[in-house]
Symmetry: none
Subunit: 122 residues, 4 copies
């Protein structure tokens, strides 16, 4: 699924870091999910394993994954990631509330919508 863009001026390992970050933050890769092994991913992308290794190191430094010796890499789920996402969500909610206010929708109506929506999923 990962596609390396050779037109991209950024180094390959940075592209890989970026893509995994997005997959993790968006929830496509859930917490504790096993990461592809360095060798497998290197083969799949026809890339030198050292480059993958470098990408994984950065991801670990940034707190997106953790590695267990002899077992491999796993998606981390630390609070700062969650906090980041929460702030993003709070920001979007603020924007929506402003739009709702424009057309005279009350907070109660918004909350009612959420409760109805939530019901679908539950």
């Amino acid at each position: 699924m990962l596609i390396i863009d050779y037109q991209d001026t950024r180094p390959i390992y940075e592209q890989i870091v970026d893509k995994f970050q997005k997959l993790i933050l968006s929830g496509v890769l859930p917490p504790h999910e096993r990461m592809p092994s360095v060798r497998n991913l290197a083969m799949e992308l026809s890339i030198n394993p050292n480059t993958i290794q470098k990408a994984y190191e950065r991801l670990e430094q940034k707190g997106f994954i953790y590695t267990v010796k002899g077992k491999g890499g796993f998606v981390a789920f630390n609070e700062s990631l969650v906090e980041h996402k929460k702030e993003e969500i709070a920001g979007k909610l603020t924007a929506i509330l402003a739009e709702a206010e424009d057309i005279g929708m009350s907070r109660e109506e918004i909350i009612a919508l959420i409760e109805k929506e939530g019901g679908k999923k539950a």
Copy 2:
């Protein structure tokens, strides 16, 4: 009728946008009513036409007025617009709820955020 408050910390164009929104939402300015021309309103309020222009642009982007080239601006507000906006807001909320679910945020947390946000304005 429009009064600019120079003590107000908000920019002039924002005050104008706000006042027209209220006039339109309250029905004082009915749909298809002609808006004052940019130049006339600028003279009346002793404000630069560019500032009025900016306010009208915002009103158009928000869907409160529409402009006809060479003719002027007109009130666009109507019930179907409100309904349309509401469905749009519902769509955005659905997207946010999905994101929130990804990181394990409950509906209650979202609602709490909304109630806190709402408090800012009240």
Copy 3:
């Protein structure tokens, strides 16, 4: 790199918006990349800063960049934004389909409209 085409009938600010959109969507400008400052870009293109400012405003409204006061503009584009936009578009389509149904328009008619519209640009 940006070249303004004075033969182009479109306004300058629109050309600028368009070019940055493409750079961002294609990934040439990665997320959080710093945008050129309003003044610098204005000088470089021999264009009035107000025109650049207008282009940046549009880019911000469309969600392609975000600005930090006193610091400058940054690329905001990322996958979750695209996903969010897609859900928003889906919400709007649902609303339109409901309206279309009210007047007895079939899905086929709607699709025909889209294919016709699309043709304009192609």
Copy 4:
């Protein structure tokens, strides 16, 4: 359900005309639906029947309703109303297609969404 706004500077009959227009265009009042009788509506709104009569006359002139002697008024469904609505829908679709293009969504993806959505209702 109809509420007369006495603060509104417009004449009452015009407010009534306006509200019925919206109800009809939005599809709340479907074609051939029976309109409330002049006398009933007058009583309900505590308004002189002549005022209601005047409003109904305008609605008939505008093609929104038709009256059958001895039976009462009915919601019309002429082509021009439908055309009006269709143009509105076409306009909204154009706006959505522009947004979709911004994020690189193809016409095919839009059409797929419509077909999926349509399935819900069918």
